[in-house]
Protein backbone atom coordinates (compact mmCIF):
# COMPACT_ATOMS: atom_id res chain seq x y z
CA UNK A 1 0.00 0.00 0.00
CA UNK A 2 1.31 3.42 -0.91
CA UNK A 3 1.05 5.90 1.96
CA UNK A 4 1.05 9.54 0.94
CA UNK A 5 2.64 12.29 2.97
CA UNK A 6 -0.75 14.05 2.90
CA UNK A 7 -2.26 11.08 4.71
CA UNK A 8 0.52 11.11 7.28
CA UNK A 9 0.14 14.84 7.88
CA UNK A 10 -3.59 15.18 8.25
CA UNK A 11 -5.51 15.12 11.50
CA UNK A 12 -9.10 15.66 12.44
CA UNK A 13 -8.31 17.82 15.46
CA UNK A 14 -5.30 19.73 16.65
CA UNK A 15 -4.05 19.93 20.20
CA UNK A 16 -2.14 23.13 20.89
CA UNK A 17 -0.40 25.12 23.59
CA UNK A 18 -0.15 28.80 24.42
CA UNK A 19 2.77 30.10 26.49
CA UNK A 20 2.22 33.51 28.08
CA UNK A 21 5.73 34.95 27.90
CA UNK A 22 4.79 37.81 30.21
CA UNK A 23 4.60 35.31 33.04
CA UNK A 24 7.60 33.13 32.31
CA UNK A 25 10.29 33.48 34.97
CA UNK A 26 12.79 31.16 33.29
CA UNK A 27 12.77 28.70 36.18
CA UNK A 28 13.22 25.69 33.88
CA UNK A 29 10.62 23.66 35.77
CA UNK A 30 9.02 22.74 32.43
CA UNK A 31 12.40 21.63 31.07
CA UNK A 32 13.07 19.51 34.12
CA UNK A 33 9.53 18.09 34.33
CA UNK A 34 9.97 16.85 30.77
CA UNK A 35 13.51 15.65 31.35
CA UNK A 36 12.56 13.60 34.38
CA UNK A 37 9.59 12.05 32.65
CA UNK A 38 10.89 11.28 29.19
CA UNK A 39 14.62 11.64 28.54
CA UNK A 40 16.48 9.75 31.22
CA UNK A 41 17.50 6.69 29.23
CA UNK A 42 20.89 5.97 27.72
CA UNK A 43 21.53 8.05 24.62
CA UNK A 44 19.10 10.73 25.80
CA UNK A 45 21.34 12.43 28.33
CA UNK A 46 21.77 15.57 26.23
CA UNK A 47 18.17 15.64 25.00
CA UNK A 48 15.96 18.43 26.33
CA UNK A 49 12.65 18.22 24.50
CA UNK A 50 11.59 21.39 26.30
CA UNK A 51 14.12 24.20 26.72
CA UNK A 52 13.84 27.75 28.01
CA UNK A 53 16.19 30.30 26.55
CA UNK A 54 16.87 33.93 27.23
CA UNK A 55 16.06 36.20 24.30
CA UNK A 56 17.84 37.75 22.58
CA UNK A 57 20.32 34.91 22.52
CA UNK A 58 21.86 32.22 20.39
CA UNK A 59 19.53 29.64 21.89
CA UNK A 60 19.58 25.87 21.98
CA UNK A 61 20.95 24.30 19.92
CA UNK A 62 23.46 27.09 19.40
CA UNK A 63 22.38 29.41 16.57
CA UNK A 64 19.46 27.18 15.66
CA UNK A 65 17.78 30.00 13.74
CA UNK A 66 20.63 29.87 11.21
CA UNK A 67 20.30 26.14 10.55
CA UNK A 68 17.68 26.20 7.81
CA UNK A 69 14.83 23.78 7.34
CA UNK A 70 11.12 24.48 7.11
CA UNK A 71 9.45 25.50 3.87
CA UNK A 72 10.21 28.32 1.51
CA UNK A 73 7.37 29.15 -0.89
CA UNK A 74 5.86 25.80 -0.08
CA UNK A 75 9.01 23.88 -0.98
CA UNK A 76 11.02 22.07 1.72
CA UNK A 77 14.07 24.15 2.55
CA UNK A 78 17.42 22.38 3.09
CA UNK A 79 18.69 22.49 6.64
CA UNK A 80 21.56 21.14 8.68
CA UNK A 81 21.72 18.64 11.51
CA UNK A 82 22.41 20.20 14.90
CA UNK A 83 25.36 18.42 16.45
CA UNK A 84 25.60 17.13 19.97
CA UNK A 85 28.11 19.88 20.74
CA UNK A 86 25.73 22.54 19.47
CA UNK A 87 23.07 21.16 21.78
CA UNK A 88 25.49 20.77 24.65
CA UNK A 89 24.52 19.34 28.00
CA UNK A 90 24.48 15.71 29.05
CA UNK A 91 27.65 16.23 31.05
CA UNK A 92 28.83 13.97 33.81
CA UNK A 93 29.83 15.75 36.98
CA UNK A 94 32.30 14.83 39.73
CA UNK A 95 29.54 14.18 42.24
CA UNK A 96 31.41 11.32 43.88
CA UNK A 97 34.46 13.44 44.54
CA UNK A 98 32.54 16.40 45.93
CA UNK A 99 29.83 14.64 47.89
CA UNK A 100 31.44 11.39 48.95
CA UNK A 101 35.17 11.81 48.47
CA UNK A 102 35.80 13.98 51.52
CA UNK A 103 36.81 16.90 49.30
CA UNK A 104 33.64 18.92 49.63
CA UNK A 105 35.55 21.95 50.82
CA UNK A 106 38.47 21.84 48.41
CA UNK A 107 36.97 20.69 45.13
CA UNK A 108 34.12 22.34 43.31
CA UNK A 109 31.54 20.65 41.16
CA UNK A 110 32.55 20.56 37.49
CA UNK A 111 31.81 18.52 34.39
CA UNK A 112 34.16 15.60 33.79
CA UNK A 113 36.15 15.58 30.57
CA UNK A 114 36.38 18.32 27.99
CA UNK A 115 35.19 21.73 29.09
CA UNK A 116 31.70 22.36 27.73
CA UNK A 117 31.33 25.13 25.16
CA UNK A 118 27.54 25.27 24.97
CA UNK A 119 24.49 24.04 26.79
CA UNK A 120 20.73 24.17 26.76
CA UNK A 121 20.58 27.57 28.49
CA UNK A 122 24.16 28.67 28.06
CA UNK A 123 23.52 32.37 27.45
CA UNK A 124 20.94 32.64 30.23
CA UNK A 125 20.04 36.15 31.36
CA UNK A 126 22.51 37.85 29.04
CA UNK A 127 19.80 39.39 26.91
CA UNK A 128 20.28 42.56 24.88
CA UNK A 129 20.38 46.33 25.07
CA UNK A 130 22.54 48.61 27.20
CA UNK A 131 21.97 49.76 30.76
CA UNK A 132 19.60 51.28 31.73
CA UNK A 133 17.69 50.01 28.74
CA UNK A 134 18.86 46.43 28.78
CA UNK A 135 16.15 43.87 28.26
CA UNK A 136 15.48 40.18 28.04
CA UNK A 137 12.66 37.68 28.22
CA UNK A 138 12.37 33.92 28.37
CA UNK A 139 11.24 31.72 25.54
CA UNK A 140 10.22 28.13 26.31
CA UNK A 141 10.45 25.93 23.24
CA UNK A 142 9.38 22.40 22.37
CA UNK A 143 8.22 20.53 19.29
CA UNK A 144 5.53 22.65 17.63
CA UNK A 145 3.50 19.66 16.42
CA UNK A 146 3.14 21.59 13.19
CA UNK A 147 0.18 21.52 10.85
CA UNK A 148 2.61 21.01 7.93
CA UNK A 149 5.35 19.04 9.70
CA UNK A 150 8.35 19.14 7.44
CA UNK A 151 9.92 16.36 9.52
CA UNK A 152 7.12 14.07 8.35
CA UNK A 153 7.72 15.32 4.81
CA UNK A 154 11.43 14.54 5.07
CA UNK A 155 11.39 10.99 6.37
CA UNK A 156 12.31 8.49 3.63
CA UNK A 157 10.69 5.66 5.56
CA UNK A 158 7.37 7.27 6.52
CA UNK A 159 8.26 6.65 10.14
CA UNK A 160 6.68 9.95 11.24
CA UNK A 161 3.03 10.99 11.19
CA UNK A 162 0.42 13.19 12.79
CA UNK A 163 -2.06 11.45 15.03
CA UNK A 164 -5.54 11.72 13.61
CA UNK A 165 -7.27 12.45 16.93
CA UNK A 166 -5.07 15.32 18.12
CA UNK A 167 -2.47 16.20 15.49
CA UNK A 168 0.41 15.20 17.76
CA UNK A 169 3.47 14.46 15.63
CA UNK A 170 4.81 11.03 16.50
CA UNK A 171 7.47 8.67 15.28
CA UNK A 172 7.31 4.92 14.89
CA UNK A 173 10.63 4.10 16.52
CA UNK A 174 10.60 0.64 14.95
CA UNK A 175 10.62 2.24 11.49
CA UNK A 176 13.09 5.05 12.28
CA UNK A 177 16.64 4.27 11.13
CA UNK A 178 18.30 7.39 12.48
CA UNK A 179 18.92 8.97 9.07
CA UNK A 180 18.35 12.39 10.66
CA UNK A 181 16.62 13.94 7.63
CA UNK A 182 13.99 15.10 10.14
CA UNK A 183 16.67 16.88 12.16
CA UNK A 184 17.76 18.67 9.00
CA UNK A 185 14.26 19.59 7.97
CA UNK A 186 12.89 20.78 11.33
CA UNK A 187 13.43 24.57 11.32
CA UNK A 188 12.98 24.74 15.10
CA UNK A 189 15.72 22.15 15.65
CA UNK A 190 13.69 20.31 18.24
CA UNK A 191 14.51 16.76 17.20
CA UNK A 192 17.36 14.91 18.84
CA UNK A 193 19.45 11.93 17.85
CA UNK A 194 19.62 9.11 20.36
CA UNK A 195 23.24 7.95 20.32
CA UNK A 196 22.47 4.66 22.06
CA UNK A 197 19.42 3.59 20.05
CA UNK A 198 20.63 5.28 16.84
CA UNK A 199 17.21 6.72 16.14
CA UNK A 200 15.84 10.24 16.37
CA UNK A 201 13.43 11.41 19.08
CA UNK A 202 11.35 14.45 19.98
CA UNK A 203 8.57 15.77 22.24
CA UNK A 204 5.51 13.56 22.13
CA UNK A 205 3.12 16.13 23.63
CA UNK A 206 2.91 13.71 26.60
CA UNK A 207 0.42 11.69 24.56
CA UNK A 208 0.02 8.94 27.18
CA UNK A 209 -1.05 11.71 29.61
CA UNK A 210 -3.41 13.55 27.29
CA UNK A 211 -5.05 10.25 26.39
CA UNK A 212 -6.03 10.04 30.07
CA UNK A 213 -7.07 13.66 30.37
CA UNK A 214 -3.82 14.82 32.01
CA UNK A 215 -2.05 17.93 30.74
CA UNK A 216 1.51 17.56 29.41
CA UNK A 217 4.14 17.68 32.15
CA UNK A 218 5.69 20.99 31.02
CA UNK A 219 2.31 22.68 31.26
CA UNK A 220 1.06 21.10 34.47
CA UNK A 221 4.30 21.63 36.39
CA UNK A 222 4.72 25.28 35.39
CA UNK A 223 4.84 27.31 38.64
CA UNK A 224 3.97 30.46 36.72
CA UNK A 225 0.81 28.81 35.45
CA UNK A 226 1.34 30.27 32.04
CA UNK A 227 0.87 27.29 29.73
CA UNK A 228 -2.55 26.78 28.21
CA UNK A 229 -3.37 23.42 26.64
CA UNK A 230 -6.36 22.41 24.60
CA UNK A 231 -7.82 21.89 21.16
CA UNK A 232 -7.70 24.67 18.60
CA UNK A 233 -11.27 23.96 17.51
CA UNK A 234 -12.70 24.10 21.04
CA UNK A 235 -14.45 27.45 20.67
CA UNK A 236 -15.12 27.70 24.41
CA UNK A 237 -11.52 26.93 25.38
CA UNK A 238 -8.81 29.51 26.02
CA UNK A 239 -6.61 28.28 23.14
CA UNK A 240 -9.23 29.12 20.54
CA UNK A 241 -10.00 32.41 22.23
CA UNK A 242 -6.37 33.50 22.50
CA UNK A 243 -5.26 32.31 19.07
CA UNK A 244 -8.31 32.77 16.87
CA UNK A 245 -10.53 35.37 18.56
CA UNK A 246 -8.19 37.77 20.35
CA UNK A 247 -5.26 36.93 18.11
CA UNK A 248 -2.85 37.67 20.93
CA UNK A 249 -1.21 34.23 20.80
CA UNK A 250 1.03 33.87 17.76
CA UNK A 251 3.51 31.28 16.52
CA UNK A 252 7.28 31.59 16.65
CA UNK A 253 8.86 32.23 13.24
CA UNK A 254 5.71 31.81 11.15
CA UNK A 255 7.84 32.41 8.07
CA UNK A 256 9.29 28.91 8.49
CA UNK A 257 6.03 27.77 6.91
CA UNK A 258 5.31 24.68 8.98
CA UNK A 259 2.25 26.00 10.83
CA UNK A 260 3.34 25.61 14.47
CA UNK A 261 0.73 24.68 17.07
CA UNK A 262 2.62 26.12 20.00
CA UNK A 263 1.71 29.80 20.34
CA UNK A 264 3.10 32.64 22.42
CA UNK A 265 1.64 35.72 24.08
CA UNK A 266 4.44 38.16 23.14
CA UNK A 267 6.32 39.97 25.89
CA UNK A 268 5.50 43.51 26.90
CA UNK A 269 8.39 45.47 28.33
CA UNK A 270 8.88 48.62 30.37
CA UNK A 271 9.42 51.84 28.46
CA UNK A 272 12.88 53.11 27.71
CA UNK A 273 14.61 55.53 30.01
CA UNK A 274 16.07 58.72 28.60
CA UNK A 275 19.56 59.81 29.57
CA UNK A 276 18.15 62.20 32.12
CA UNK A 277 16.24 59.37 33.73
CA UNK A 278 12.85 60.41 32.40
CA UNK A 279 10.59 57.83 30.79
CA UNK A 280 10.24 57.65 27.03
CA UNK A 281 6.70 56.42 26.63
CA UNK A 282 6.94 56.24 22.87
CA UNK A 283 9.63 53.56 22.64
CA UNK A 284 9.34 50.00 23.96
CA UNK A 285 12.47 48.66 25.59
CA UNK A 286 12.27 45.44 23.56
CA UNK A 287 12.77 46.70 20.00
CA UNK A 288 9.72 46.08 17.83
CA UNK A 289 11.96 44.87 15.00
CA UNK A 290 13.34 42.17 17.25
CA UNK A 291 9.90 40.89 18.17
CA UNK A 292 8.84 41.03 14.52
CA UNK A 293 11.86 38.95 13.64
CA UNK A 294 10.77 36.30 16.12
CA UNK A 295 7.00 36.36 15.75
CA UNK A 296 6.33 38.05 12.43
CA UNK A 297 4.35 41.24 11.79
CA UNK A 298 1.31 40.01 13.70
CA UNK A 299 3.16 40.67 16.93
CA UNK A 300 2.28 44.38 16.71
CA UNK A 301 -1.45 43.83 16.71
CA UNK A 302 -1.11 41.31 19.52
CA UNK A 303 0.85 43.77 21.66
CA UNK A 304 -1.58 46.59 20.88
CA UNK A 305 -4.50 44.42 21.98
CA UNK A 306 -2.70 43.43 25.18
CA UNK A 307 -1.89 47.07 25.96
CA UNK A 308 -5.42 48.24 25.26
CA UNK A 309 -6.96 45.54 27.45
CA UNK A 310 -4.49 46.27 30.25
CA UNK A 311 -5.37 49.94 30.05
CA UNK A 312 -9.04 49.03 30.31
CA UNK A 313 -8.53 47.25 33.63
CA UNK A 314 -6.22 49.98 34.89
CA UNK A 315 -9.04 52.42 34.35
CA UNK A 316 -11.40 50.29 36.39
CA UNK A 317 -12.97 48.51 33.45
CA UNK A 318 -13.32 44.78 32.84
CA UNK A 319 -11.37 42.75 30.32
CA UNK A 320 -12.22 39.16 29.46
CA UNK A 321 -8.78 38.83 27.93
CA UNK A 322 -6.99 39.95 31.09
CA UNK A 323 -9.15 37.64 33.17
CA UNK A 324 -8.24 34.77 30.90
CA UNK A 325 -4.52 35.55 31.11
CA UNK A 326 -4.63 36.02 34.88
CA UNK A 327 -5.99 32.47 35.16
CA UNK A 328 -7.97 32.81 38.38
CA UNK A 329 -8.60 29.08 38.43
CA UNK A 330 -5.66 26.87 37.63
CA UNK A 331 -7.68 24.26 35.77
CA UNK A 332 -8.80 26.86 33.26
CA UNK A 333 -5.38 26.42 31.67
CA UNK A 334 -5.90 22.85 30.66
CA UNK A 335 -9.11 22.55 28.68
CA UNK A 336 -10.07 18.86 28.66
CA UNK A 337 -6.80 17.83 30.33
CA UNK A 338 -7.44 18.69 33.99
CA UNK A 339 -7.02 15.26 35.58
CA UNK A 340 -4.50 14.83 38.36
CA UNK A 341 -1.93 12.24 37.27
CA UNK A 342 -1.55 11.09 40.89
CA UNK A 343 -5.15 9.93 40.92
CA UNK A 344 -4.76 7.66 37.93
CA UNK A 345 -3.46 4.13 37.77
CA UNK A 346 -0.62 3.89 35.28
CA UNK A 347 0.30 0.57 33.78
Amino acid sequence: MVISKEDLMKSERQAAMVFDLNKCIGCQTCSVACKVLWTREDGMDYQWWCTVNTQPGRGAPKDWEQMGGGYRDGVPNPGIIPTREECGGGWDFNYDEVFYGGKGRSVHLHPIGEAPTWGPNWDEDQGGGEYPNSFFFYLPRLCNHCTRPVCVEACPRNAMYKRNEDGVVLRDETRCRGYRFCLEACPYKKIYFNYAKKISQHCIFCFPRIEKGVAPACARQCPGRLVFVGFLDDVDGPIHKLVREWEVAIPLHPEYGTGPNVFYIPPLAPYRLNEDGSIDETTPRIPTEYLEKLFGPRVNKALDTLKAEMAKTKNGGKSDLMNMLIVYHWHELFGPFTKDPAELTWK
Binding site: V75, P76, P78, I81, R84, V150, P156, R157, R177, K198
Partner: protein
Protein backbone atom coordinates in the same frame (compact mmCIF):
# COMPACT_ATOMS: atom_id res chain seq x y z
CA UNK B 1 32.31 -12.12 -12.18
CA UNK B 2 33.21 -15.38 -10.55
CA UNK B 3 33.23 -16.62 -6.97
CA UNK B 4 36.37 -18.72 -6.96
CA UNK B 5 36.28 -22.09 -5.27
CA UNK B 6 38.76 -22.16 -2.41
CA UNK B 7 39.53 -24.40 0.54
CA UNK B 8 40.11 -21.76 3.19
CA UNK B 9 37.77 -21.67 6.15
CA UNK B 10 35.56 -18.76 7.13
CA UNK B 11 37.71 -17.79 10.09
CA UNK B 12 40.60 -17.22 7.67
CA UNK B 13 38.78 -15.45 4.87
CA UNK B 14 36.87 -13.18 7.26
CA UNK B 15 40.14 -11.36 7.81
CA UNK B 16 40.30 -8.68 5.10
CA UNK B 17 44.10 -8.83 5.23
CA UNK B 18 44.33 -12.65 4.86
CA UNK B 19 46.91 -13.70 2.28
CA UNK B 20 44.37 -16.20 0.87
CA UNK B 21 42.57 -13.26 -0.70
CA UNK B 22 45.64 -12.75 -2.86
CA UNK B 23 44.69 -15.92 -4.77
CA UNK B 24 41.33 -14.47 -5.76
CA UNK B 25 41.05 -12.28 -8.84
CA UNK B 26 39.75 -8.77 -8.31
CA UNK B 27 37.20 -7.01 -10.42
CA UNK B 28 36.89 -3.24 -10.44
CA UNK B 29 33.38 -1.94 -10.62
CA UNK B 30 32.51 1.56 -11.63
CA UNK B 31 30.04 3.16 -9.21
CA UNK B 32 27.63 6.05 -9.58
CA UNK B 33 25.33 8.09 -7.37
CA UNK B 34 21.70 7.13 -6.98
CA UNK B 35 19.42 9.42 -9.01
CA UNK B 36 18.13 12.33 -6.95
CA UNK B 37 14.72 12.18 -8.65
CA UNK B 38 14.25 8.74 -7.18
CA UNK B 39 14.84 9.70 -3.57
CA UNK B 40 11.78 8.83 -1.55
CA UNK B 41 10.91 12.20 0.00
CA UNK B 42 10.40 15.67 -1.41
CA UNK B 43 12.68 17.10 1.26
CA UNK B 44 15.53 14.79 0.21
CA UNK B 45 14.98 15.49 -3.49
CA UNK B 46 15.12 19.21 -2.82
CA UNK B 47 18.02 19.26 -0.40
CA UNK B 48 20.19 16.97 -2.55
CA UNK B 49 19.28 18.53 -5.90
CA UNK B 50 22.59 20.40 -6.10
CA UNK B 51 24.74 18.15 -3.94
CA UNK B 52 26.85 15.41 -5.47
CA UNK B 53 25.58 11.93 -4.59
CA UNK B 54 27.84 8.90 -4.65
CA UNK B 55 31.22 9.90 -3.36
CA UNK B 56 32.85 6.54 -4.02
CA UNK B 57 33.24 5.99 -7.77
CA UNK B 58 35.21 2.78 -7.89
CA UNK B 59 34.88 -0.47 -5.98
CA UNK B 60 37.10 -3.53 -6.07
CA UNK B 61 35.35 -6.83 -5.44
CA UNK B 62 36.73 -10.29 -4.86
CA UNK B 63 34.47 -13.26 -4.37
CA UNK B 64 35.09 -16.83 -3.26
CA UNK B 65 33.31 -19.84 -1.83
CA UNK B 66 34.45 -22.98 -0.03
CA UNK B 67 31.40 -25.12 -0.85
CA UNK B 68 29.88 -24.15 2.52
CA UNK B 69 30.12 -20.39 2.65
CA UNK B 70 30.38 -17.56 0.15
CA UNK B 71 32.69 -14.59 0.71
CA UNK B 72 33.04 -11.12 -0.74
CA UNK B 73 35.93 -8.76 -0.14
CA UNK B 74 35.02 -5.18 -0.98
CA UNK B 75 37.73 -2.54 -1.19
CA UNK B 76 37.34 1.12 -1.83
CA UNK B 77 39.22 4.29 -1.23
CA UNK B 78 37.91 6.60 1.46
CA UNK B 79 40.23 9.15 3.05
CA UNK B 80 37.89 9.61 6.04
CA UNK B 81 37.14 6.75 8.39
CA UNK B 82 33.64 7.26 9.78
CA UNK B 83 32.73 4.58 12.26
CA UNK B 84 30.13 6.45 14.28
CA UNK B 85 27.83 9.44 14.48
CA UNK B 86 30.23 12.31 15.00
CA UNK B 87 29.07 15.84 14.30
CA UNK B 88 26.93 15.84 11.18
CA UNK B 89 28.65 12.72 9.79
CA UNK B 90 27.28 9.23 9.37
CA UNK B 91 29.07 5.91 9.61
CA UNK B 92 30.45 4.52 6.35
CA UNK B 93 28.66 1.50 4.99
CA UNK B 94 28.56 -1.15 2.29
CA UNK B 95 25.86 -3.35 0.87
CA UNK B 96 25.53 -6.33 -1.45
CA UNK B 97 22.22 -6.81 -3.19
CA UNK B 98 20.62 -9.89 -4.76
CA UNK B 99 17.23 -10.35 -6.39
CA UNK B 100 15.05 -12.77 -4.45
CA UNK B 101 12.82 -13.33 -7.42
CA UNK B 102 13.44 -13.17 -11.15
CA UNK B 103 13.91 -9.76 -12.66
CA UNK B 104 13.66 -7.58 -9.58
CA UNK B 105 14.68 -4.07 -10.64
CA UNK B 106 17.93 -2.77 -9.15
CA UNK B 107 17.37 0.99 -9.14
CA UNK B 108 14.17 0.77 -7.14
CA UNK B 109 15.47 -1.93 -4.77
CA UNK B 110 12.95 -4.42 -6.11
CA UNK B 111 9.24 -3.96 -6.44
CA UNK B 112 6.18 -5.24 -4.68
CA UNK B 113 6.05 -8.64 -6.38
CA UNK B 114 9.82 -8.94 -6.72
CA UNK B 115 11.74 -8.49 -3.51
CA UNK B 116 15.47 -8.09 -3.16
CA UNK B 117 17.84 -9.22 -0.42
CA UNK B 118 20.67 -7.07 0.83
CA UNK B 119 23.56 -7.72 3.13
CA UNK B 120 24.30 -4.50 4.91
CA UNK B 121 27.46 -3.67 6.82
CA UNK B 122 28.02 -0.39 8.60
CA UNK B 123 31.22 0.75 10.27
CA UNK B 124 29.48 1.22 13.62
CA UNK B 125 27.94 -2.25 13.78
CA UNK B 126 29.46 -4.13 16.67
CA UNK B 127 29.28 -7.46 14.98
CA UNK B 128 28.44 -8.78 11.55
CA UNK B 129 26.01 -7.44 9.00
CA UNK B 130 22.26 -7.09 8.77
CA UNK B 131 20.17 -9.17 6.45
CA UNK B 132 17.51 -6.98 4.89
CA UNK B 133 14.76 -7.33 2.36
CA UNK B 134 13.11 -4.66 0.25
CA UNK B 135 10.38 -4.47 -2.34
CA UNK B 136 10.72 -0.91 -3.54
CA UNK B 137 12.41 2.29 -2.41
CA UNK B 138 11.83 3.14 1.26
CA UNK B 139 10.70 -0.39 2.13
CA UNK B 140 13.92 -1.83 3.55
CA UNK B 141 13.24 -4.12 6.50
CA UNK B 142 15.77 -5.93 8.61
CA UNK B 143 15.03 -9.57 9.17
CA UNK B 144 15.06 -10.76 12.73
CA UNK B 145 18.03 -13.03 12.16
CA UNK B 146 21.06 -12.52 9.98
CA UNK B 147 23.34 -15.30 8.78
CA UNK B 148 25.69 -12.71 7.31
CA UNK B 149 29.02 -12.17 9.02
CA UNK B 150 31.16 -9.18 8.15
CA UNK B 151 34.41 -7.64 9.19
CA UNK B 152 35.70 -4.22 8.17
CA UNK B 153 39.14 -2.72 8.35
CA UNK B 154 40.18 0.81 7.48
CA UNK B 155 43.82 1.46 6.78
CA UNK B 156 45.65 4.27 5.00
CA UNK B 157 42.57 5.60 3.30
CA UNK B 158 41.13 2.26 2.20
CA UNK B 159 38.20 0.29 3.54
CA UNK B 160 38.41 -3.47 3.25
CA UNK B 161 35.23 -5.25 4.22
CA UNK B 162 34.60 -8.98 4.08
CA UNK B 163 31.09 -10.40 3.97
CA UNK B 164 30.54 -14.09 4.62
CA UNK B 165 27.43 -16.21 4.62
CA UNK B 166 26.49 -19.89 4.32
CA UNK B 167 25.58 -20.60 0.69
CA UNK B 168 22.09 -21.66 1.72
CA UNK B 169 20.06 -20.38 4.65
CA UNK B 170 17.29 -22.92 4.98
CA UNK B 171 15.24 -21.03 7.58
CA UNK B 172 15.16 -17.84 5.49
CA UNK B 173 13.89 -19.10 2.15
CA UNK B 174 11.86 -15.93 1.52
CA UNK B 175 14.27 -13.50 3.12
CA UNK B 176 17.72 -14.59 2.03
CA UNK B 177 19.14 -15.40 -1.37
CA UNK B 178 19.88 -19.12 -1.71
CA UNK B 179 23.17 -19.93 -3.40
CA UNK B 180 24.90 -23.10 -4.60
CA UNK B 181 28.15 -23.95 -6.33
CA UNK B 182 27.91 -23.97 -10.10
CA UNK B 183 25.01 -21.54 -10.07
CA UNK B 184 24.82 -17.97 -11.38
CA UNK B 185 23.10 -15.11 -9.57
CA UNK B 186 22.70 -11.42 -10.12
CA UNK B 187 24.49 -9.17 -7.70
CA UNK B 188 24.92 -5.43 -7.14
CA UNK B 189 26.89 -3.29 -4.69
CA UNK B 190 26.44 -0.05 -2.77
CA UNK B 191 28.77 2.15 -0.74
CA UNK B 192 27.93 4.94 1.68
CA UNK B 193 30.51 7.63 2.45
CA UNK B 194 29.47 8.94 5.83
CA UNK B 195 31.38 12.22 5.95
CA UNK B 196 29.54 13.30 2.78
CA UNK B 197 26.21 12.80 4.55
CA UNK B 198 25.56 9.58 2.67
CA UNK B 199 22.94 7.36 4.28
CA UNK B 200 19.67 5.73 3.28
CA UNK B 201 19.15 6.11 -0.47
CA UNK B 202 21.99 8.63 -0.72
CA UNK B 203 24.84 6.34 -1.78
CA UNK B 204 26.86 5.15 -4.71
CA UNK B 205 25.84 1.92 -6.39
CA UNK B 206 27.00 -0.36 -9.18
CA UNK B 207 24.24 0.85 -11.54
CA UNK B 208 23.54 -2.53 -13.14
CA UNK B 209 23.20 -6.10 -11.98
CA UNK B 210 26.35 -8.20 -12.46
CA UNK B 211 26.25 -11.90 -13.16
CA UNK B 212 28.10 -13.80 -10.45
CA UNK B 213 28.97 -17.43 -11.14
CA UNK B 214 29.95 -19.62 -8.21
CA UNK B 215 32.66 -21.92 -9.49
CA UNK B 216 31.41 -25.52 -9.48
Amino acid sequence: MEAKKVTAEAKVLLDPAASEWGQVAAETISMGGTPVAQQPSRYIRTSWSDRPIGNVRSLTVRSAHNSKEVFFLLEWSDPTKNDGYVGRDFPDGAGILFPLKGDAPLQSMGRQSQAVNAWFWRADFEDGAKNVTASGIGTVEETEKSAVAARGQWQDGTWRVVFARPLAVAEQKEQAVQLEAGQSVKVAFAIWEGSSGERAGIKSFSKTWRELTLEG
